[in-house]
Amino acid sequence: MVKFLKMLSISVREGTATRKYPFESPLVTPEFRGKIEVDPVKCVGCGACTRICPPKALTLSYENNEATLKYFVGRCIFCGMCAYVCPQKAITISKEFELATWELEDLYDETTHTTVKCRICGKPFTTVKFANEIRRRIENKVPEDLLNVCPECRKKLATRKIGSRVVGVSGE
C-alpha cells in the first residue's frame, strides 16, 4: 500500500509519458533523414547516385530515347549517400516519413531526361543536360570528331586514329 502511494506520487510528478502522435507533430530531429527529393532543374542524369545507392533504389534506365531516373522509396534505406555524392547538389533529404500506401506504384518517383544519340551507331548513350554540363566544365576543349560519340564508338575511333598515325594508313 505504501509502495503504491509512492508510485502515485511519482506518476503525479512525472505526468503522462505517452505521445499523442496523430494529434501532435511527430518527433523529428534536425538530423533526421527521410524520403529524398530529386530537383528536376538541377539534375543532369549523370547516374552518380545510382552507382552509390546500396540497395539500388535509384536506377537510371535508357528506353524509347528517354533516360529515366527512377527512385523507389520502398527499397530506400535512407542513408543519404546519394545526396552526398550528387555533383549538382540536386538531391535533397526531406523529413517526410509518412509514406504508407496500398499502391506499390505510388512509391515510385521518376525524373525523365532527353538523350543524346551517338553520331555513328545511333544508340542513345547519355542525357542532353549531362553532355552540356560536361562541355561547360571543360570549356569546349573536346575535339570536334569526338563530340556526340558513344564510348564504344569513341574507342574504335581512337584506335583507328593511333593506327593511322603509327602505320601511316587511314583506318577507313
Binding site: 509519458a17 520502398g74 527499397r75 521518376e110
Partner: protein
Amino acid sequence: MSAVSDGGRPDPASSETTLSILEEAFNRLKRSIWVFHLNTGSCNGCDIEVLDILTPYFDVERFGIKLVGSPRHADLILLTGPVTIKTISKVVRAIKAMPRPRLVLALGSCGVGGGIWFNTYTTLGGYPKLEKILKDAGVEVDKVVYVPGCPVRPEAIIYGVAVLLGLLQPKSRHRRVPAVEG
C-alpha cells in the same frame, strides 16, 4: 446489400454475399484490430520499432490495437523482413491461418521492396514477390499496405494502420516529371 437473402441469413454460395460478409467484417474492424507480428528474416530493426509502439511512449492500445500470440486471433499481420527462402512455408501457413478479412502491413524497406536484400539468392525480396506464391497456394489477402522506412518509424506504423483502416488518405503519389533545362 442486395445479396442478403430472405430471413437475414446470407447465402454462402454467392460471391456477392461473401463480399458483403467481408464488408461487414471490415465495418466490425473499425472498432479495434488485433495484430500478429510476423518476422520473415528481418534484421530486428523493424521488430524493435514494433515493440516500441507497444510501450507506454507510443502506446497503440489506446487505439485498441493489441498484439496477439497466434495468427488465428489476428486481423492484421505486421510482416517485417525480406522473406527468406527458409521462412516461405511458415509465412504462407501463418497467413493461411488468419481468419478473413486478411490484412497485411508490409513494414520496412525489406518488407516492401526487399531493401538491401532485394536480389540475393537466400531471399524472395519483400512482400510483392510473396504475393504470387500466396496466389498459387490459394491464400487470398484482402488488403495490403506498404510502409517504407529503414527501420520504419513507430509513427509511420501508426500512420500505416490509419491508412489501412481508411481513416487517412495516403500522401504518397506516383510522380513522373521531365527534367528542366536550368
